[in-house]
């Protein structure tokens, strides 16, 4: 079976490409481990035009409904391991099988970045969490640390201010990067203690987390706490396209038509070097990539 197009990923970029492909009656396949990608994990969205306020899961539900209007072939639960051009076709390998297509759109998005501290894996779901929205309520009246002083870190801090007893913010850089309005709100609660130029070295405990050891310049702080929320950004899922040109952040480099350096392979959304990692931008890029792929297919027929 030779597809015209395979779309990798079903976040905002992949779903938009899918809707456009379906309307063009293309012979295409979508492969994704989930629907919605990072958008699913967004709390409150107030800047997606047309909705003054919508939550991430609600917006994803709308996207899904839109896509499911069409008869779309979607493979879940088979992670993509490799995408490569061989002669004039693109071969997509998953953990289960191999697919062939004339073109591919890589919209694989990003994964949360791990901390790399000792004990992080051992205490995962035993105090260490990557989803404050999910697990926050389990830490009612406890002491916790949020690792990362960016906007997503402070998003977690502001959620925990209402729940936890005390929140330590651990930021590796000398300064907090979150928007000042978030920082002000956090400090006003009186529950937040900020440690800049600080790095988590060890997460320790017995059955559950009991504390962390933090290197703050030349001293080592031992902070007793029960919860560790990791919010230190994300990494693009780009290693599945080994031959694609990438920038120093491992993002796939694309041109204004979402073309990569490999003929027939396009990329869209947060996996690319396009600035502004926003849902609305990813949707637009998914559209551009599909139109780019469509144009490409018309030239090779």
């Amino acid at each position: 079976m030779m597809y015209d197009l395979i779309i990798i990923g079903a976040g905002p970029a992949g779903i938009t490409a899918g809707v456009y492909a379906a309307r063009k009656r293309m012979n295409f396949l979508m492969i994704s481990r989930d629907i919605g990608g990072q958008a699913f994990w967004s709390g409150d969205i107030e800047n997606y035009i047309g909705y003054q306020f919508i939550t991430g899961p609600e917006l994803v539900e709308k996207f899904k409904e839109h896509l499911q209007n069409f008869d779309v072939e979607l493979k879940e639960e088979e992670p993509v391991t490799n995408i490569q051009r061989k002669d004039s076709i693109i071969v997509v390998k998953t953990e289960k099988q191999e697919y062939q297509a004339k073109s591919v759109i890589v919209a694989s998005g990003r994964n949360p970045r791990k901390l790399g501290a000792a004990g992080e894996e051992e205490y995962r779901n035993k105090g260490v969490t990557y989803c404050a929205t999910c697990d926050g309520p389990l830490f009612a009246n406890k002491d916790v640390a949020v690792i990362g002083g960016g906007n997503s870190g402070f998003d977690a801090v502001l959620q925990m201010v209402k729940i936890a007893n005390k929140i330590h913010v651990i930021e590796i850089a000398p300064q907090i990067k979150a928007d000042p309005i978030m920082l002000e709100k956090a400090l006003k609660s009186g529950k937040v203690e900020i440690h800049t130029s600080s790095k988590v070295e060890t997460i320790y405990g017995d059955r559950f987390v009991n504390g962390i050891k933090v290197k703050k310049q030349s001293e080592v702080l031992d902070i007793k706490l029960q919860g560790v929320f990791v919010e230190i950004g994300s990494l693009p899922v780009s290693s599945i396209v080994p031959d694609a040109r990438k920038n120093s952040f491992d993002e796939i480099i694309v041109d204004c038509k979402c073309r990569t350096n490999i003929k027939g392979i396009f990329a869209a959304g947060d996996v690319t070097d396009v600035p502004a990692k926003q849902i609305i931008v990813a949707c637009g890029e998914g559209c551009k990539a599909l139109l780019g792929a469509f144009e490409y297919l018309s030239t090779i027929k």
Partner: protein, 78 residues
């Protein structure tokens, strides 16, 4: 015999919603315990399962963490 199923969840957690929707779509009865509101349920979940992350699904004493569809399918014999 029907299995006894408890889902420990929080109201704001996307994976919890996915687990519950999956069970509903398969017409499987379950009890939902909101560990964000119900602190006793939270303690119960942590003690029984040794987990501090939601969702946790208890299927006749077998604990499944996260939305692990293959594991749930297997445990339920779907």
């Amino acid at each position: 015999m029907e299995k006894k199923i408890t889902v420990y969840s929080t109201a704001t957690c996307p994976y919890c919603a996915m687990v519950k929707n999956f069970l509903k779509d398969n017409n499987i009865n379950f009890e939902n315990k909101d560990v964000g509101q119900d602190h006793q349920a939270a303690r119960e979940m942590v003690e029984k399962s040794g987990q501090m992350g939601v969702p946790v699904v208890d299927i006749d004493g077998e604990f499944i963490v996260g939305f692990n569809k293959p594991a749930i399918v297997k445990a339920l014999g779907l």
